[in-house]
């Protein structure tokens, strides 16, 4: 009896989690792939027999859809501008925070981390007020130095930059902590050895600090690129993709096609294009890192 319990106990431990993961993660992945080759929509949802396979039609249509193409361009812009800024700022702040372990500095650390755990809807409400063209704080502060009202969220191009600014503010915290943890794990010996060799500050940074951070930097770059390619919440809550689709990202496009227009097949196809882009870029990074070594 107890022998039997011992035999099945691992399955009692992993069973519930694996079952739920199977139903709500594994099955959906397979379903998504199938749906993306169908014309599944609201009618099909009510009556599955009305759903038919249409081969690669969804994918063909996607690349002739001006909004989808725009969403790709916008997403690349978010990634291209946002990721370098976030990484540089979070590394910079981590280097500064690493100067001291006093209570004051851990207070600073907490402040920089706060935005990353703040609810996105609350963020949208606060920043929507700050960005307000008439009553917002930002335009008021700019008016003090005689700068005209900035259409923060009203102009397609400026709106993209405004969303990036917001996302950078929200995104610094997590990476900063990762860099800080990595910095604190560099053995003091390395610096002492460098001191004995007469290394100056820049040399120490270049030959001790940076190489020791190489894995942390790689990790952050990979996760940041994956995260920003899925840029979604900021345009979703701030602009809904507007003005003139100027802030639509690929992830927002998928959401809108799926849940606003109920074109489930079409949206699933778009989600696989996004997935392919993510896999492609991640593979390139792993290859580059290998050839680096």
């Amino acid at each position: 009896m107890s022998r039997l319990i011992f035999k099945i106990s691992p399955f009692i431990f992993i069973g519930p989690a694996i079952l739920l993961l199977f139903i709500f993660s594994i099955i959906p992945i397979v379903m998504s792939l199938i749906i993306s080759f169908t014309d599944m929509d609201l009618v099909g949802l009510a009556n599955w027999s009305k759903v038919s396979f249409i081969g690669f039609d969804n994918f063909g249509r996607l690349f002739n859809d001006p909004i989808f193409l725009k969403s790709i361009v916008n997403t690349l812009m978010y990634v291209g501008i946002g990721v370098p800024i976030v990484i540089c700022l979070s590394l910079g702040i981590a280097l500064l925070l690493n100067y001291s372990t006093s209570a004051l500095f851990s207070g600073f650390r907490a402040i920089y981390y706060m935005p990353s755990i703040t609810n996105i809807v609350a963020v949208a409400i606060i920043w929507g007020f700050l960005y307000n063209q008439e009553y917002g704080l930002f335009n008021y502060l700019l008016s003090l130095i005689d700068i005209e009202k900035v259409p923060w969220l009203e102009d397609p191009f400026v709106a993209k930059l405004s969303l990036i600014l917001l996302a950078v503010w929200k995104g610094i915290g997590v990476d900063m902590i990762i860099f800080l943890a990595a910095l604190q794990s560099i053995p003091k010996m390395y610096y002492e050895a460098a001191d004995i060799d007469g290394a100056n500050r820049w040399q120490k940074f270049k030959y001790v600090t940076l190489p020791s951070l190489s894995f942390a930097i790689f990790f952050v770059v990979v996760t940041k690129l994956i995260g920003w390619l899925q840029f979604f919440e900021e345009p979703f809550v701030m602009t809904g993709g507007g003005p003139l689709d100027g802030t639509v990202s690929m992830a927002l496009f998928i959401y809108q096609e799926g849940f606003e227009y109920s074109r489930f097949g079409y949206a699933s196809a778009a989600s696989f294009v996004l997935f392919a882009v993510i896999i492609g870029i991640t593979l390139v990074q792993f290859t580059l890192r290998k050839s680096d070594k």
Binding site: L21, N119, I126, F129, Y135, I254, F259
Partner: protein, 271 residues
């Protein structure tokens, strides 16, 4: 190693950056105590002239923030159940040897690489087929298991010496007593950090409840707030009160546990 004046300069730079980072929070809290009139005044006032709590009262009178708070607390409760299941699975994968273990664990890791957008639509269709749309079960169930949290817990538990478990078995403890009385206390560092993140995630949960709940009896605080943003789009003071109400509990929890969060990242082994 560093000179004193250097630390001071760095401190001043960090203080300036910290001030800029916290402007949105400061503005939110100050504006939430203003009257609607004052919130729209040009030039804006920094400190409210007439401090009022009316906005906070209105959250419960004009909107159903009591219901939203209740629903959010239910989601928080279930996220803790989910964490227990994650922990059990993490333990199962770390300690036992059984058939198909490697394949199952790879499957868990594979789900980590799939973007949310890919699974969101089929998960909705699945929940819809089960007749769970517009129910609390439909909101809670799909997010119960976090592969990431399961993975981190497994990594931590794999470092627990097997001898300890063998000794407990020899003493006649059964597998579940070992898990609850020996393993859980030993894993306090990783579990406490996962609890904080589970709480933050549940408290902030927005997109999935928004998709699944049609009825405002099921709305969470976030969903209720997006409603507030739409319906009272010019009542900025009321909006700021709503945002403050959402953000402050998280900031308090975070301030209490922030030491654990940093240690938690050290534990993940990203160095």
């Amino acid at each position: 190693m560093s000179k004193k004046w250097e630390v001071s300069v760095v401190g001043i730079i960090l203080a300036l950056g910290g001030l800029i980072t916290s402007i949105p929070f400061i503005w939110m809290i100050l504006s939430s105590f203003k009257t609607e009139r004052e919130a729209l005044s040009v030039p804006p006032t920094l400190i409210p002239n007439n401090v009022t709590l009316q906005n906070y009262i209105d959250l419960f009178n004009k909107l159903d923030f009591d219901i939203y708070l209740y629903n959010t607390m239910i989601i928080v409760f279930f996220s803790m159940i989910g964490l227990l299941l994650n922990t059990m699975a993490g333990y199962g994968f770390a300690i036992y040897r059984f058939r198909y273990k490697e394949i199952l664990f790879l499957l868990v890791l594979a789900t980590l690489m799939i973007p949310n957008q890919v699974t969101m639509i089929p998960t909705y269709l699945l929940v819809n087929t089960m007749g769970l749309t517009n129910t609390m079960t439909g909101i809670v169930l799909p997010g119960l298991i976090s592969a990431y949290s399961l993975f981190l817990i497994r990594q931590f538990m794999a470092t627990i010496p097997m001898d300890l478990i063998e000794a407990a078995r020899l003493d006649g403890a059964n597998e579940f007593r070992i898990f609850f009385n020996l393993i859980l206390p030993l894993s306090k560092p990783i579990i406490s950090i996962q609890m904080i993140f589970a709480f933050i995630g549940a408290w902030n949960s927005f997109l999935w409840p928004l998709i699944i709940a049609n009825d405002d009896k099921l709305y969470t605080l976030s969903v209720g707030m997006s409603l507030l943003k739409g319906q009272y789009s010019t009542s900025f003071a009321l909006q700021m009160a709503g945002a403050t109400f959402m953000v402050i509990p998280i900031l308090i929890i975070f301030t209490i546990f922030q030491r654990n969060i940093v240690q938690g990242f050290n534990m993940t082994g990203i160095k």
